[in-house]
């Protein structure tokens, strides 16, 4: 039984380097149950590394990641797979299995991960496809036959197919036109609300952030430098966040641009 006051996800002192480059330098944050936290930050600031570390796809050098108070660092084999049952993940480029049809992609976690019968899993997959606005005819197609927006929707259907407690979204609107991005944002909000899930998203799309976040945190120089409710991001008490949110070239964040 988890402590109702304890955060759903708690990250403390997370560090990760690649060779001499320190990407995460002591990341600390909490995410409450049922909350939608969006982590913003510039390209190359380590947002994806942070998400992958929480998911266990990357092994951090130091720090603690707790889910419902349970330390997940060092979990291997069956224990790790059991933790994965509680997660759903939408990858930046969808990461759909191109050798499988759309419905098989959506049903994959149910069939392979949970041993559900194919017919039952197919039925659920079709319902999830409908939930993201795709008709049953799409189920028989291959991912290569879909547009970018449809692939994102299929990936979202796959992420929510097993109705996980915790959802992760990696740049959910990158590469989409504004209207399709808005469709995806709406779907994310609806899915998270319907499942009652806890969600952590990473993005540098402020429109998306405003739409899907309950709370926002900013990652810069390997640390969380600011966090607060979504309503506060337009008037933050932090110059870095202010510059990022308003997309100004001048400010404390200096892009490394080398003259030709």
């Amino acid at each position: 039984m988890s402590d109702p006051i304890a955060p759903k996800i708690s990250v403390r002192g997370l560090k990760k380097s690649f060779g001499p480059k320190r990407v995460l330098d002591g990341v600390d944050f909490d995410c409450a149950a049922g909350e939608s936290l969006v982590i913003i930050g510039g390209s190359g600031t380590g947002k994806s590394v942070l998400l992958r570390s929480i998911l266990g796809l990357l092994r951090p050098d130091a720090g603690s990641i707790r889910v419902d108070g349970m330390e997940t660092q060092g979990l291997r084999g069956a224990a790790r797979m059991s933790l994965m049952h509680r997660f759903g993940m939408l990858f930046q480029d969808g990461a759909l299995f191109d050798s499988l049809r759309v419905w098989e992609n959506v049903a994959f976690g149910l069939i392979q991960g949970r041993g559900m019968a194919s017919d039952e899993a197919r039925e659920i997959a079709m319902k999830k496809l409908a939930a993201v606005g795709l008709g049953p005819e799409v189920g028989a197609l291959s991912p290569a036959e879909l547009s970018g927006g449809m692939q994102k929707r299929v990936a979202l259907a796959r992420a929510i197919a097993a109705e996980p407690e915790i959802l992760f979204f990696d740049e959910p609107t990158t590469g989409l036109d504004p209207i399709m991005a808005d469709v995806i944002n709406h779907l994310i909000v609806d899915c998270v609300r319907e499942l009652g899930a806890t969600a952590i998203s990473i993005t540098h799309d402020m429109v998306s952030t405003r739409k899907i976040a309950d709370r926002v945190a900013m990652l810069h120089n390997g640390r969380i430098i600011w966090q607060g409710p979504t309503a506060e991001i337009d008037h933050p008490d932090n110059a870095h966040v202010d510059q990022f949110v308003h997309g100004r070239a001048e400010g404390p964040i200096q892009m490394e641009v080398r003259a030709a």
């Binding site: 796809l57 797979m81 994965m84 993940m89 930046q92 191109d98 994959f108 976690g109 392979q112």
Partner: protein
């Protein structure tokens, strides 16, 4: 001088590290066979892909190998009036060496490259990470079925290559070199021992394992987009081909050295 020695040392250490990673990868993949879930459909699909779809290319190379072997043996042996040994040389060469090696090299080019490219593409497009997030062990789902299929399919493929290769030799012997077809076939069977065929099939199983291991390993380790996948494909084919030739010598030494 010290710089030269240091670079040799660094290369040696890098080689040992690669061997260590490869062995760990193979052990982890095979370790997945101990506990369920198993994927028999995936194994079957891989057996069909490796075995059945390689039949045309392996059959074609085997028939010409047998034919050229008969022709070369005849022109060489005729200098010592030993033409009657042609059938024996053909059958022993094909079953012991050329069947497994030629089939192995052909499959390394066809299947090893395809595996490295497929798994490499899955790696660089996050599909392998997606497997993990869907509670599926990538080594169990992607690698183990391919290793098992390579181990099973290659011996069957080599058995077919042996038959086709010997038949190629028979065609040249009977219709070009004017051997009596019946006595050619009699001589083919006369000196052939079970161990000649079995040693070739054991070699085939080892080669099948090596080809699929190299394809999976290099694909799994690939990084850096399309260029990384291309590099993985090259490494898979080159390393499998070299290992086939090295292991062929070692296995021959084990089976036949006295």
């Amino acid at each position: 001088m010290i710089g030269f020695l240091a670079s040799i040392g660094a290369l040696f250490i890098a080689f040992l590290a690669t061997v260590g990673r490869l062995v760990a990868f193979a052990m982890q993949s095979l370790g997945a066979a101990v506990t369920p879930p198993y994927y028999p459909r995936l194994i079957l699909r891989q057996i069909v892909d490796i075995g059945y779809f390689s039949l045309p290319v392996v059959g074609l190379t085997a028939v010409f190998t047998g034919m050229v072997l008969a022709l070369q043996s005849y022109t060489g042996f005729s200098r010592f009036n030993a033409e009657s040994a042609v059938a024996t040389v053909v059958v022993l060469s094909v079953t012991r060496e050329l069947g497994p090696v030629i089939a192995g090299l052909m499959v390394a080019g066809r299947v090893g490259a395809a595996m490295a490219a497929e798994i490499g593409t899955m790696r660089v497009t996050d599909q392998i990470d997606a497997l993990v997030t869907l509670s599926t062990d990538p080594l169990r789902y992607l690698v183990l079925p391919r290793l098992v299929a390579g181990l099973v399919a290659l011996p069957f493929l080599v058995l077919v290559a042996d038959i086709i290769g010997v038949f190629g030799g028979f065609l040249v012997g009977a219709y070009k070199l004017n051997f009596n077809p019946v006595s050619y076939l009699t001589q083919t069977g006369e000196h052939l021992e079970t161990m000649d065929v079995v040693s070739g099939l054991i070699k085939a199983a080892v080669f099948g394992f090596i080809i699929t291991l190299m394809g999976c390993y290099h694909g799994y380790q690939s990084r850096g987009g399309a260029a990384g996948v291309g590099q993985a494909t090259t490494h898979a084919v080159v390393s499998a081909s070299i290992l086939i030739l090295v292991l062929d010598y070692l296995l021959t030494a084990v089976f036949f050295a006295k």
